[in-house]
């Protein structure tokens, strides 16, 4: 009954968001594109990071492969944008399947650092490849108008959220959560942990790659440092953790809220925006380490003591 209310509300919100390009200014639409792409990325990270518990810093690699796959397909092979997106996604998924086999055996910080290393290696390799324009970057043709990009981004968020929703209630998802909580126990319960993890990694890669492809065509210029930006990966994590990792809607809400905060800061207080954003992160991690989802769930029992209780739970 209540679940139906939530679903209805989600549909209403999605429809409302779909109508935004017809009433909002171009600046708002571009802000929307950016916010929606971040939401999709946070959601893609949520699958491998939030549900499976593997703190990936390699999701920016999938994003970068999607950007470059799309760009190279359009520029070198003269394929249409739609096909380019598919090319980017296929490259990223294949890469995830190969990489996953090797790196998903690592745990915790070691996995994090290894994927971070992969991102650095990919930046360096792409900077040396002729077909990707080396470090000079690639210039894509200019498509006037933002509606296509906006609606595509929105569709990607919806698809990503549906995928997560499916994961959350499927046997596959239970397996992932079991891996997160205790991998050995999951294996002994008969979960094929390797296959589950790699599959989760690949889904995550596909979503990230499509986001990269949309962004590349929209911004018209990509270079290795911006396409494989580790800062973007950190943003995904921040948004997912801020919203609530391992929840269905948390990462999307986190992305929306933090994008809005960051946008207001950078247009209102300009030069100190970066500083304030850093402070917001620090304060959020200290006082609401489990994100907005947890805050909403437990605030009414704890009231203001909620924040103190969080600190008490994690300090020495």
């Amino acid at each position: 009954m209540r679940a139906r209310v939530v679903v209805t509300l989600c549909v209403v919100v999605a429809v409302l968001l779909a109508g935004v390009p017809w009433i909002a200014s171009p600046a708002t639409i571009e802000f929307g594109i950016n916010m929606l792409l971040l939401a999709a990325l946070a959601q893609s990270w949520n699958i491998i990071g939030g549900y499976t518990g593997y703190p990936s810093f390699g999701n920016s690699v999938f994003y970068g492969l999607g950007s470059y796959g799309t760009a190279v397909a359009m520029l070198s092979w003269q394929l249409p944008f739609g096909v380019g997106l598919v090319v980017g996604a296929v490259i990223a998924v294949v890469f995830a399947l190969l990489l996953g086999r090797a790196v998903l055996r690592l745990r915790g910080h070691y996995f994090a650092i290894c994927t971070l290393g992969v991102a650095e290696v990919m930046t360096a390799i792409v900077s040396n490849l002729e077909i990707t324009g080396r470090n000079q970057g690639l210039v894509l043709p200019l498509l006037k108008g933002n509606v296509l990009f906006y609606e595509l981004s929105l569709a990607l968020v919806v698809v990503a959220t549906l995928v997560v929703w499916w994961i959350a209630r499927s046997r596959f998802g239970f397996g992932l959560v079991a891996i997160r909580e205790n991998e050995e126990a999951a294996a002994s319960m008969g979960v094929d942990t390797t296959r589950y993890k790699i599959f989760a990694f690949a889904i995550s890669a596909a979503i990230g790659a499509v986001a990269g492809g949309i962004h590349a065509y929209w911004i018209t210029f990509i270079d290795p440092v911006s396409a494989f930006d580790i800062g973007l990966n950190v943003k995904m994590i921040i948004m997912a953790v801020f919203g609530g990792p391992g929840s269905i809607l948390g990462p999307v809400v986190g992305a929306f809220v933090l994008s809005a905060i960051s946008e207001v800061l950078s247009s209102e207080i300009s030069t100190v925006a970066g500083l304030f954003f850093g402070i917001v992160i620090v304060v959020a991690v200290v006082f609401m380490p489990r994100g907005i989802a947890d805050l909403l769930r437990r605030f009414h029992t704890y009231r203001w003591r909620y924040f103190a209780a969080n600190v008490r739970a994690t300090r020495v």
Binding site: G49, P55, A102, V103, R105, L106, R107, G108, H109, Y110, A112, I113, C114, L116, G117, V118, E120, V121, T123, A124, I125, S127, N128, N135, V234, I237, I238, V241, P245, V272, G274, L275, F277, G278, I279, V280, I281, V282, V285, V286, P289, V311, A313, T314, R315, V316
Partner: protein
Amino acid sequence: MNLLWQGIVNGVLLGGLYALMALGLALVWGVLNIVNLAHGALIMLGGYVCYYLFTGAHIDPFVALPITAAVLFVVGYAIQRRLLNLVIRAPMFNTLLITFGLDVVLTYAAQIAFSADFRTVNPSYAGANFSLLGATVPVVRLLAFVIALALTFGLWLFLTRTPLGRAIRATSQNLVAARLYGVEPRRIYALTFGIGAALAGAAGALYGVVSQLNPYIGTSLTAKSFVIAIIGGLSNPLGVIVGGLVLGLVESMTSLYIGATYTNVASFGILVLVLIVRPTGLLGRTA
């Protein structure tokens, strides 16, 4: 042949400085299980402290080095005591995020305080050099190398031979056991992070002498420190020296024989390979 010899000298000397950069990161990671993304920002701060001691008070950078380390120790102690101790038992993402936030804050604060001007610590002898079997050896880099070795060895002695050092190691292995030692974890944590920051400060002071400072140098230094810490492992400071030398030599040889744009492919490639082949580091213990 001569070029190869010069390349080896370059690589070894660079490696010493790299090792010192990574030493504090490895210590904090190994003992506190905090991967400190703000480590490079602490190195940057150390560089500025040394810069102002040198240009403001005309203190020789090598004399300013211990003062810089002491200042950074206080900074590091305060950060751990007042902030990181609050989240030390939180999930790993959270400690990663908080140090990332800290990195952003330190970088922007530095931009506001010191401006984006380029700075160098440039004493009269900064370019001095001598010839060794046909290779040119920069004196400052050699000094940096010696200091890095001395500090590493000193840290190793401290951790293995003093009661306080043993307490730190005990804390890293088992918090409950550490309490039995009569160790106050809050203080020990702050002390450890303080030492890590002091080492970063020393590295920053030397970095200002051989390279240049601006508020944004931190990120790439953090990334390099990861590579070294992973190659060297976290359990033993002496491993970090090996990690630094490996990275220094690899970068030098790649740049000499493959191409200067391939150094990152090589160094981060090694990081990934080492982790895949030996997940706990080349010389590391099991996690």
